[in-house]
C-alpha cells in the first residue's frame, strides 16, 4: 500500500476543480491511456494574463488525481509568468510530498500546465515532449530533454529515480543504458545547488552577478558546442542576451535560452529572472 499523505487522500477523495471548464481559453493535454495516466487541464486566462479559473480531468491513480487537483488550486490567481515558474517539486510539496515512484504524477501536472499556456500563446500544441530533444523511452514517449530537466530540477542521482520521475525505462527497459548515459553526463556537470534565500539585489549587484555567471558558467558550456553569448541589457529582472555561433542557428535556440541561461541565472542570481533573446 502506498504511503500517501493526508493531503493526497483529501485531494483524491474530494478533488477540487474537477470536470471540464466551459469558458476555458487554454487546454493542455498530456499522457495517454496506454501510459496509464493522462491529464487534461483547462485554464481561463483573462486579458491581464491572470489565470482566473482552472479545472482538470484526470485518468490515473490517486496521486495523479491529487496532483491535478492541487495544481488547479495553486495556479488560480497566478499570472501566466508566475505559473510557468512552477516546478513539479512545488506540486509535490503542496501535497506534503509524494512517494518517489509517484513523482511522475507531479511532472505530468507541470507538463500539462506548460502545454496549456503554450496553446494560449499560440505556440504549436504539441506537448513540449516531442518538440525538444530526442525520443529516449519509446514505451512512454519520453525525450532526453524531459529526462535532463527532471534530473536537474529534482537533483536526481540514479536511473531508478529518473524512472520514478519520468516513467522513462519503466516498461521494456531497453532505454535504461541510454538513461544511465544521460545521467552520467549530467552528474559530471556542476551539481545543482539547493536554492538558498538570498538578500534582495540592487540593480548594480544584479548586473554584476549576471555578468559573472555568464562568464563563468554559461559561456564555457555554450563554447563546448561552438557557441557564444553576449549580454545586451539587464532591465530589472529581464535579462536580454544575444547568442552567437552555432547556438544562434540552432533550431532549438529558444530551448537553449530557456533551459540553460535562464536556469543558471535563476539558480545563481535570482529565482525569478526572465531571459529574452535580443
Amino acid at each position: 500500500m502506498w504511503n500517501y499523505t493526508e493531503a493526497v487522500h483529501d485531494h483524491f477523495l474530494h478533488p477540487h476543480n474537477a470536470g471540464p471548464l466551459a469558458d476555458a481559453n487554454a487546454i493542455g493535454e498530456v499522457g495517454s491511456l496506454a501510459c496509464g495516466d493522462a491529464l487534461k487541464l483547462y485554464l481561463k486566462i483573462n486579458d491581464k494574463d491572470v489565470i482566473e479559473d482552472a479545472s482538470f480531468e484526470t485518468f490515473g491513480c490517486a496521486s495523479a488525481i491529487a496532483s491535478s487537483s492541487v495544481l488547479t488550486d495553486m495556479i488560480k490567481g497566478m499570472t501566466v509568468d508566475e505559473a510557468l515558474k512552477l516546478t513539479n517539486k512545488d506540486i509535490a510539496n503542496a501535497l506534503g510530498g509524494l512517494p518517489k515512484q509517484k513523482m511522475h504524477c507531479s511532472v505530468m501536472g507541470q507538463e500539462a500546465l506548460e502545454a496549456a499556456i503554450r496553446q494560449w500563446k499560440g505556440e504549436p500544441a504539441v506537448p513540449h515532449a516531442h518538440e525538444e530533444g530526442k525520443l529516449v523511452c519509446k514505451c512512454f514517449g519520453v525525450t532526453d530533454a524531459q529526462i535532463i530537466r527532471a534530473i536537474r530540477e529534482n537533483n536526481l542521482k540514479t536511473v531508478e529515480e529518473v524512472t520514478a520521475y519520468t516513467k522513462a525505462g519503466g516498461a521494456c527497459g531497453e532505454c535504461l543504458d541510454e538513461i544511465a548515459e544521460i545521467l552520467a553526463a549530467e552528474l559530471k556537470q556542476k551539481p545543482v545547488k539547493e536554492l538558498k534565500p538570498r538578500p534582495k539585489l540592487t540593480n548594480v549587484q544584479r548586473m554584476q552577478q549576471v555578468l559573472k555567471v555568464i562568464d563563468e558558467e554559461i559561456r564555457p558550456q555554450l563554447a563546448a558546442d561552438g557557441g557564444d553569448i553576449e549580454l545586451i541589457d539587464v532591465d530589472g529582472k529581464r535579462v536580454v542576451v544575444s547568442l552567437h555561433g552555432r547556438c544562434s542557428q540552432c533550431r532549438s535556440s529558444n530551448v537553449t535560452i530557456a533551459n540553460l541561461v535562464q536556469r543558471l541565472l535563476r539558480e545563481h542570481v535570482e529565482p525569478d529572472i526572465v531571459v529574452e533573446e535580443a
Partner: protein
C-alpha cells in the same frame, strides 16, 4: 470498520481450527522432531500426521510431501531439482502468465545458458495445446505450468499437458498454489511429477508450504544441510506451521465440494451484479474454466489504483492488475499476455472470495461499487 475481504488470492484468513491446532506447538510442545527422546518424538508424530493430511488432500503418498517455507521455495526447488538431475537437458518450457516465482526463476536460468520457451495465451488467457506439444523436445528438462492463474483464475488443462510430457519423458511441474483446496486434485490419476502448494492461500499461516515430488522422480535438494525431510530439504522443521498446514488441508478436503458451489454462487452474484450495474466493463479470463472464487473485471477508462483506494475507504479489500498498484509502470503481465487493451487493462480489479464471505457482504459491495466507477469516470478525460 468491518472489512469485506475480497482478496483471497493474495492471502487468506487463518482458520480458527488451524490456529487452535498450532498453539500447543508454540507453547509446551517445542521439541525438535529429530531428537531421540519422547519429548521430541511426540512432535515428530504431529509432523507425520500433517504429511498424511496433505497427502490425503492431493491423492499422494505421505513420503511424496516435502515441507517448504513458501510457494516460491517450492517453485524454485522444483525447477532447480529438474535441471540438476538432468544436466544434459538445456530447455525449459513455461508460460507467459506464470507467477513471478516461476517466471523470474526461468529468466534467471535463461541467463545461465538455458533455452526458455514461454508459451503465449489467447485473449481469454488460454494456452494452445498444439503449440505446447510442438515445443517439448528431447532437450527439454522441465515443463512448469501453473494449475490455475492467480490473476484471472483460469484453470489450465494440466491432465493433457502432463500426460504428453510423460509420453515424451519430460518432467512436469505445476505451481498449484491457487488451485489446491479450491478444486479437486488427484495425483493418483494426474501424471505430474512435482506440484507446489502454499499454506497461506488455504487458510494456514504465511511462511509454510509444501512441494510434492512423485516417488521415483530424481530429486536434488535446493537447501542442503541436515537430514530433515529425508535429506530433501534441510532445516529444523517449522512444526507449529506444519501442523497448521495439515489441519488446513484437512479442512479443504472436508469442505471443498460444498464450497466450490457456495463460493462460486457468491462470486457469480457479485460478477453478474457488477456487470449489470456498471456499463462498459468486461470479465477477463476463461469463464468456463475458472477457479470458483475468482473474478477479474476491467472497467473502461478508469485506473485500478484509484478504484482500489476508493473501495478501501468503503471497507472493501480487493486488488488490481493496474500498473500503479505494483510500483511498476506497466499493467499486469497476465493481462498484457492476453492482449487486453490498455483502456481496460489499467482498470482491472481482481475480486477473490473465500468461504468466509457472505451474501450480505456481496450486497454491500454491489451497492457501493458502481458509485466508485461513476465518480472516477466523471473526472476522467476519456469518455466513451
Amino acid at each position: 470498520m468491518q472489512v469485506v475481504y475480497l482478496d483471497n488470492n493474495a492471502t487468506t484468513a487463518v482458520a480458527p481450527q488451524v490456529l487452535e491446532a498450532m498453539l500447543p506447538y508454540l507453547g509446551d510442545l517445542y521439541g525438535n522432531p529429530s531428537s531421540m527422546h519422547t519429548f521430541g518424538g511426540q512432535v515428530a508424530e504431529a509432523v507425520d500426521t500433517s504429511r498424511e493430511q496433505i497427502a490425503a488432500l492431493l491423492g499422494a503418498e505421505p513420503d511424496e510431501i516435502i515441507f517448504t517455507a513458501s510457494g516460491s521455495e517450492g517453485d524454485n526447488t522444483a525447477i532447480w531439482s529438474a535441471l540438476q538431475s538432468r544436466p544434459e537437458r538445456r530447455h525449459i518450457v513455461t508460460t507467459r502468465v506464470e507467477h513471478p516465482a516461476v517466471l523470474s526463476v526461468c529468466r534467471y536460468w535463461e541467463t545461465q545458458g538455458y533455452r526458455v520457451t514461454m508459451l503465449g495465451v489467447d485473449s481469454k488467457g488460454r494456452l494452445d495445446l498444439e503449440e505446447y506439444a510442438a515445443t517439448i523436445g528431447d532437450d527439454t528438462a522441465i515443463v512448469s505450468i501453473m494449475f490455475a492463474n492467480n490473476e484471472v483464475g483460469n484453470i489450465y488443462p494440466i491432465q493433457e499437458m502432463a500426460e504428453l510430457a510423460r509420453e515424451r519423458g519430460v518432467l512436469f511441474h505445476t505451481d498449484a498454489v491457487q488451485a489446491v483446496g479450491k478444486i479437486p486434485i488427484d495425483l493418483h490419476h494426474l501424471p505430474v511429477d512435482m506440484l507446489t502448494l502454499s499454506g497461506h492461500k488455504i487458510n494456514a499461516p504465511k511462511g509454510i508450504g509444501a512441494l510434492y515430488v512423485r516417488k521415483g522422480v530424481r530429486f536434488r535438494p535446493l537447501v542442503r544441510g541436515g537430514h530433515q525431510e529425508r535429506g530433501r530439504r534441510a532445516g529444523t522443521e517449522n512444526v507449529p506451521y506444519i501442523v497448521g498446514l495439515g489441519v488446513a488441508a484437512q479442512l479443504c478436503a472436508k469442505f471443498m465440494q460444498e464450497e466450490r458451489v457456495d463460493v462460486a454462487r457468491l462470486r457469480d452474484k457479485l460478477e453478474y451484479g457488477l456487470l449489470e450495474r456498471i456499463p462498459e466493463c468486461r470479465v477477463n479470463g476463461d469463464i468456463e474454466h475458472r477457479l470458483p472464487n475468482t473474478s477479474n473485471i476491467s472497467f473502461k477508462n478508469v485506473e485500478g489504483e484509484a478504484i482500489l483506494l476508493m473501495l478501501d475507504r468503503l471497507g472493501i479489500a480487493a486488488s488490481s492488475g493496474s500498473a500503479c498498484t505494483s510500483g511498476s509502470l506497466e499493467p499486469s503481465h497476465v493481462l498484457r499476455a492476453m492482449g487486453v487493451p490498455f483502456n481496460y487493462a489499467h482498470g482491472s480489479i481482481r475480486l477473490s472470495l473465500s468461504r468466509y464471505n457472505t451474501a450480505e457482504e456481496i450486497d454491500y459491495v454491489l451497492d457501493k461499487f458502481p458509485g466508485v466507477i461513476e465518480t472516477l469516470r466523471a473526472i476522467s478525460p476519456f469518455k466513451g
